[in-house]
C-alpha cells in the first residue's frame, strides 16, 4: 500500500540524480526525506535537495499562458497562445536559419525529445542548443573518441568500491555534494583519493593527496601522470598489448615522452618526482574512477582528452568498479544531449545569436537561467520570442508569448544523470493551474501546425524515445518504475567497445599574466548554488545561504591569497578595481583566503555583473570554462 504522505522521486537540482521522498498531500509539498535505498545517494541529500520543498511550494510560478500586448504580458488561454505561436512561427523560414530553439538541461527526456521533434519537423530548423551545453559537448566528443559512445564510462556507484579515485579540477563537495560525500566515504574506507585543483577546495582537504597546480596546467599534470605510469611499465618490462595496440597509442606515447620534468615544474609548480610517486599508486590500483566537471564550468578539450587517455592507459577501464564520469551540474544535461537538443558545432543557436548578420528572427526558449542570458540585445530585437518555464524569470521580459510548465513533481518524466542512469519521477502533485506538461504543449503546437504525433502520456513519448534514441532501446517507463533507474546501454552505439586515444599536444602553458596584469583570474568556484540561481533564488534557506556571501561582500568578491593582500596593501572586504587585459573592469570587494595560491584570484560564477559585464566580452574565457584564466590587475 502506498503511503499517504510520502512519495519517492528523483531530486532535480543537479546532475547527481539522488533519490528523495517528497512529503505531500497531492496538492502541496511540505517536506523532504532522503531515500535510503537509492544506490547513488544512499540516504543522503545536499542543502539543495533538503530544501526542494521550498522551491516546489514557491509562489513565483508562471501559472497561465501569457501574450504580450501593447508591451505588457496579459493572461491568455492555451488555445489562443498556441494558435498564435503556430501562426507566427509558420511565417518564418526555419530551413533558412530564421528560427532558433534554446532547450533546457533541466527538461525531462520526454520534453527534450518532443522539443527536438518540434524543432526538426515543425520549425524545420537546425539552429538549436542547450543552455549549458558548451562544456558538455567537449566531454561527449572526448568520451566518444575514447570509448566509442558519448556518455560516461561506468557508474557513479563505482566510487563506493574503487581503489583509486581521481578528482580533476571540480569543487565537487559544493557542486555535487552527494558525489563528494561518496568520495569522502571511499577515502575513509581506504581508497586513495587524489585531487588536482589549483585552489584548496574542501575535497582537496579531504583527499589522500592534493596536487595544487598553477592555473591552466591541469591537462599537463594529467599527461605527466600518464608519462610516469608509462615509465614504470617500461622499467618493469610490462607491455600491455591491449593498450599499446589501440589507435593513437604511438602518438600519445611519443607526446608523453616529450614532457620535460623541468618545464613541467616551471609551468605547473609540481615536481615530477611527486608525479612519479603518484603513478606507482595508480599502477597498483585495480579499479580507478576519474571525475571531472562538465557543463558550463567544464574543462577544455585538451584537458578532457588527457583524462580519457590516462583512463585508457591505466588499463583498468574494464574493471566493473572503474569509471570516467563527466559530472553535470544540471539534472538532465546528459539526457538533453542524448535527445539531440545539442547544437551542431559551428551552427548552433548561440552562434546565430552572436553573429550580427545571421538570419535568425524567432526564438523558442525553455527554462533559461537569467544570470547567463547572452546576446540579450539581439534577443530583444528578434521578431518573435516564445518562452516556457515553470518559474518566473527575467527571460519573460524578452518574450512575446510565455507558457507555464509543470514543476518536476507535477508530471511524469525521466532524467538522465551524469553517469547515464535514467530515472523516472512520477507525478505526485496536481499542478494547481492545470498546466500542460512540456511534451503535451509541444504536441499541441505541432497539432496547430498541422502535424499529429498521437501522444497521450509521457510513457508513450518514452516508447518513441526508446525506438529512436541510441542506448535507450531497452528502457521503458514500466521498467524504470521498478527500482532506481537504469544506465542507458552503450551497446546501442556501433562504436561501443572500440577504444582510441585522443591526439594530444604537450604545451607548457605560459601564464598570460604580465607585469601590468600580474594576476591570473580564475572563474567558476563558488558556494553551493553554482548555476542554479534561477531556482535557488526561489527558496528560503538556500537563498539565505547564497545571500550570506553577498551580505558580507555586497559588491561580490574576488578571492586572493593573504600574502598578495599584504603586497597590495588591502584588507578583507576592501573594494578594489579589477581591470582585465582586454579592458573590461569592475569594482569588487577583496576576500582573503588561505585556500588560494599567490598570483591567482577567483571570482565565483554567481556574481551577476561578473558574467554579463566582465566575462562575456571575454569570449575565449567563457569557452574555456573552468580552466579559463584572465590576466588582471588589482588596485585599491
Amino acid at each position: 500500500m502506498n503511503l499517504v504522505n510520502y512519495k519517492p522521486c528523483v531530486c532535480n537540482l543537479c546532475g547527481t540524480g539522488c533519490g528523495q521522498f517528497l512529503k505531500t498531500d497531492g496538492h502541496k509539498v511540505y517536506g523532504v526525506s532522503p531515500l535510503i535505498a537509492h544506490p547513488v545517494s544512499k540516504g543522503k541529500l545536499c542543502i539543495r535537495g533538503w530544501h526542494s520543498n521550498e522551491l516546489l511550494s514557491t509562489n513565483e510560478r508562471i501559472t497561465t499562458p501569457l501574450i504580450r500586448e501593447n508591451g505588457e504580458l496579459r493572461e491568455a488561454s492555451y488555445d489562443e497562445a498556441i494558435a498564435l505561436v503556430a501562426a507566427r512561427m509558420q511565417a518564418f523560414d526555419g530551413a533558412a536559419g530564421e528560427i532558433g530553439v534554446l532547450a533546457s538541461a533541466r527538461s525531462s527526456n520526454e520534453d527534450s525529445f518532443t522539443l527536438a521533434r518540434l524543432t526538426r519537423d515543425v520549425f524545420k530548423t537546425t539552429l538549436r542548443g542547450i543552455g549549458a551545453e558548451a562544456g558538455h559537448r567537449k566531454s561527449m566528443a572526448a568520451l566518444e573518441q575514447a570509448f566509442g559512445y558519448p556518455g560516461a564510462h561506468g557508474s557513479l556507484t563505482a566510487i563506493d568500491h574503487a581503489d583509486y579515485i581521481l578528482v580533476v579540477g571540480t569543487d565537487i563537495t559544493r557542486q555535487n555534494p552527494v558525489i563528494g560525500g561518496n568520495i569522502h566515504a571511499a577515502q575513509r574506507r581506504g581508497a586513495r583519493v587524489v585531487t588536482l585543483s589549483s585552489s584548496r577546495t574542501q575535497i582537496a582537504k579531504l583527499s589522500t593527496k592534493h596536487f595544487q597546480e598553477k592555473p591552466g596546467t591541469l591537462g599537463l599534470l594529467v599527461n605527466a601522470l600518464g608519462k610516469a605510469l608509462m615509465a614504470i611499465r617500461t622499467v618493469n618490462h610490462d607491455r600491455r598489448a591491449n593498450i599499446d595496440q589501440l589507435p593513437g597509442y604511438a602518438d600519445y606515447a611519443a607526446a608523453l615522452r616529450s614532457i620535460s620534468s623541468v618545464a613541467l615544474e616551471r609551468a605547473s609548480g609540481i615536481r615530477y618526482e611527486e608525479i612519479e610517486e603518484e603513478a606507482h599508486h595508480l599502477e597498483q590500483a585495480r579499479s580507478i574512477v576519474i571525475l571531472f566537471s562538465s557543463g558550463i564550468s567544464g574543462l577544455d578539450r585538451p584537458t578532457i582528452d588527457a583524462i580519457t587517455n590516462l583512463a585508457l592507459l591505466s588499463d583498468r577501464m574494464d574493471h566493473p568498479h572503474s569509471a570516467v564520469i563527466p559530472v553535470a551540474g544540471i539534472s538532465n544535461l546528459q539526457g538533453s544531449f542524448d535527445m539531440g537538443m545539442s547544437g551542431e558545432l559551428g551552427n548552433s543557436v548561440f552562434k546565430a545569436l552572436a553573429t550580427p548578420d545571421s538570419r535568425i528572427r524567432a526564438l523558442f526558449v525553455i527554462d533559461h537561467d537569467d544570470g547567463i542570458i547572452r546576446d540579450k540585445e539581439r534577443i530583444a530585437a528578434l521578431d518573435f520570442v516564445v518562452y516556457a518555464c515553470a518559474y518566473k524569470s527575467a527571460f519573460m521580459e524578452l518574450a512575446d508569448v510565455v507558457f507555464p510548465l509543470p514543476a518536476y513533481n507535477e508530471t511524469d518524466g525521466t532524467y538522465t544523470a551524469s553517469d547515464k542512469r535514467v530515472q523516472i519521477t512520477h507525478k505526485n502533485v496536481d499542478s494547481r493551474h492545470h498546466v500542460l506538461p512540456g511534451w503535451s504543449l509541444f504536441e499541441r503546437i505541432a497539432n496547430a501546425s498541422g502535424q499529429h504525433w498521437g501522444y497521450h502520456n509521457a510513457a508513450q513519448v518514452f516508447k518513441d524515445i526508446a525506438a529512436h534514441t541510441r542506448g535507450y532501446g531497452d528502457l521503458s517507463h514500466e521498467l524504470l518504475s521498478k527500482g532506481f533507474g537504469q544506465h542507458w546501454n552503450p551497446q546501442g552505439f556501433a562504436g561501443c567497445g572500440r577504444r582510441k586515444f585522443n591526439a594530444i599536444n604537450i604545451e607548457y602553458w605560459e601564464s598570460p599574466t604580465t607585469p601590468e596584469f600580474p594576476f591570473a583570474l580564475m572563474i567558476g568556484k563558488a558556494q553551493h548554488y553554482w548555476h542554479q540561481n534561477n531556482l535557488m533564488r526561489k527558496t528560503i534557506v538556500p537563498r539565505r545561504e547564497y545571500d550570506q556571501t553577498l551580505w558580507l561582500y555586497p559588491h561580490g568578491y574576488i578571492e586572493i591569497s593573504p600574502d598578495d593582500a599584504v603586497r597590495l596593501k588591502v584588507r578583507d572586504k576592501w573594494l578594489v578595481n579589477v581591470r582585465s587585459s582586454i579592458g573590461t573592469h569592475m569594482k569588487i570587494a577583496v576576500k582573503i583566503s588561505p585556500d588560494v595560491q599567490d598570483g591567482t584570484a577567483y571570482i565565483p560564477y554567481f556574481i551577476k555583473n561578473m558574467i554579463s559585464d566582465f566575462l562575456l566580452p571575454y569570449e575565449n574565457a567563457y569557452a574555456a570554462g573552468e580552466e579559463s584564466v584572465i590576466p588582471i590587475q588589482i588596485q585599491e
Binding site: 504522505n5 519517492p8 535510503i36 543522503k44 542543502i47 520543498n53 514557491t58 579531504l206 545571500d547
Partner: protein, 358 residues
C-alpha cells in the same frame, strides 16, 4: 499510580487502532512498498501499521514540528492602510501508535524545550496538546542505534500513555498515564501475570545484549565526551577535523528527534496575501546566525558544528531537557555525507582523549 499491565492479541491491537481512528488521526510506522523505507505517518487503514518495522527513517517530530508549516496569513491593504490576519495552525487529536523509545524521548525533550521554559511555544503546544503516545519496545537494535548509551531505549520508561512489547503470548501493554488507564478501563483486556513481567524484562535484556559492542562500549564514553564538551576541553584540531567533513547540508538537524531550531519567513502568495512560514533550520548553515548588515559572529564551520554538539552533549543543555539532548537513534549517521554523525563525533573525541588508541 501503580502501573497496570495487560496482554493483547494482534487482533486486539488492530481493533484498538480502528477504535482510535474514530476520535484521533492515527499515525504509526509503515513500510513504503517500493523502497522498503519506513515512515511514521498517518495510517490510511489499520492494516498499514507495521509494529515490527525498523526505526522510521524520519523522526516522529515531523508530526509535531513539521519541516515547514504556515502559521499566519495576512493581507495588507496599502490603499486603506489596514491589515487582516488569521492563524493557520490548528489543533487535532492525534494518536502516535508504535513510537520507538528514542522517538518518544525526542518528544519529551521537545516538550521540555518548547513548553517548559519561560515562554510556551504556542504552535508546538497546539500540535502537541491532544496527543496520545503509544510506544513500542525495540526487540533488537537496528543499524546505527546506540540508545543504550543515551538512556533512551530499547524500552521506554517514562512519558508514554500506553507502551507495547511483543512477547510470546501477544503484546504486553503497560499503562503510563491516567489517559492510558482510561483507555484500558474501557476494554476487557486480559490482565498480565508476573510471568509476563518477567518475560518483558528478559526481552529487554536480550535486546541490550544484541547491541554491537561498540555501542555498549561507548556508554561510558558518552559521559566522558559530555564532560569534555561541557568544559570546552575538546581540542581545536578535533573540531577542525570535524568541520572539514561538514558539507553544510543541514541533514543532521533535520533528522534529529531533538533539534528544534527554526526559521520564520514571510512570503507573498499569488493573490497579494502573505504567509508566515515557519521551517526547520540548522545551526550548521553559514547564514543561520547572520545579522542584517555585516556581521556573522559564528563563521568558521567548525564553530557551527561545535554549537550543535554542545546542544546534544553537554550538561547545561541536559538540564533544560532533563536528559542528554541526543537520544541515540543514529539517524544523523545515516544521512551525513561527511562522516560526522554523532556516534562518530563521540569516537573522534574519544580518540583525542586516548591519544589515538580506541
Amino acid at each position: 499510580m501503580s502501573m497496570s499491565m495487560y496482554i493483547l492479541s494482534s487482533g486486539e491491537i488492530s481493533a484498538l487502532v480502528t477504535e482510535l481512528q474514530a476520535s484521533y488521526d492515527v499515525y504509526g510506522p509503515q513500510v513504503e512498498p517500493q523502497t522498503k523505507q519506513v515512515f511514521f505517518d498517518q495510517l490510511a487503514t489499520p492494516a498499514a501499521l507495521d509494529l515490527e518495522a525498523p526505526i522510521p527513517s524520519m523522526p516522529v517530530k515531523e508530526i509535531l514540528f513539521p519541516q515547514m508549516e504556515r502559521i499566519l496569513k495576512y493581507k495588507y491593504d496599502a490603499e486603506n492602510q489596514s491589515v487582516a490576519m488569521s492563524k493557520q495552525y490548528f489543533e487535532r487529536p492525534k494518536a502516535l501508535f508504535g513510537l520507538r523509545p528514542c522517538d518518544l524521548s525526542g518528544i519529551l525533550v521537545l516538550d521540555r524545550f518548547f513548553l517548559g521554559q519561560e515562554f510556551v511555544d504556542d504552535v508546538y503546544l497546539t500540535h502537541r496538546r491532544q496527543c496520545l503516545l503509544i510506544s513500542n519496545t525495540c526487540l533488537h537494535p537496528f543499524p546505527q542505534c546506540f540508545c543504550v548509551c543515551t538512556h533512551s531505549g530499547p524500552d521506554a520508561d517514562e512519558g508514554f500513555d500506553l507502551d507495547l512489547t511483543k512477547l510470546q503470548d501477544g503484546y504486553l501493554l503497560r499503562v503510563g498515564s491516567e489517559k492510558g488507564q482510561a483507555i484500558a478501563d474501557a476494554h476487557q483486556w486480559q490482565v498480565a501475570t508476573p510471568r509476563h513481567a518477567k518475560e518483558f524484562k528478559a526481552v529487554v535484556d536480550r535486546s541490550i545484549d544484541l547491541f554491537p559492542e561498540m555501542a555498549t562500549d561507548n556508554k561510558a564514553w558518552v559521559a566522558k565526551v559530555m564532560n569534555r564538551i561541557t568544559t570546552g576541553f575538546v581540542k581545536q584540531e578535533t573540531w577542525e577535523y570535524i568541520g572539514d567533513q561538514c558539507f553544510e547540508c543541514g541533514a543532521c538537524s533535520f533528522v534529529c528527534p531533538t533539534c528544534s531550531c527554526f526559521n520564520i519567513e514571510d512570503t507573498q502568495t499569488a493573490c497579494g496575501e502573505c504567509e508566515r512560514l515557519r521551517m526547520r533550520d540548522s545551526c550548521s548553515f553559514e547564514g543561520y546566525a547572520r545579522m542584517a548588515g555585516d556581521h556573522n559572529p559564528r563563521q568558521p564551520v567548525e564553530d557551527r558544528r561545535n554549537k550543535r554538539f554542545f546542544c546534544k552533549l553537554s550538561y547545561p543543555q541536559s538540564k533544560k531537557y532533563l536528559r542528554p539532548g541526543c537520544v541515540g537513534c543514529g539517524r544523523c549517521q545515516w544521512v551525513c555525507p561527511g562522516d560526522i554523525g554523532l556516534p562518530n563525533v563521540v569516537q573522534y573525541i574519544r580518540r583525542e582523549i586516548t591519544g589515538g588508541q580506541n
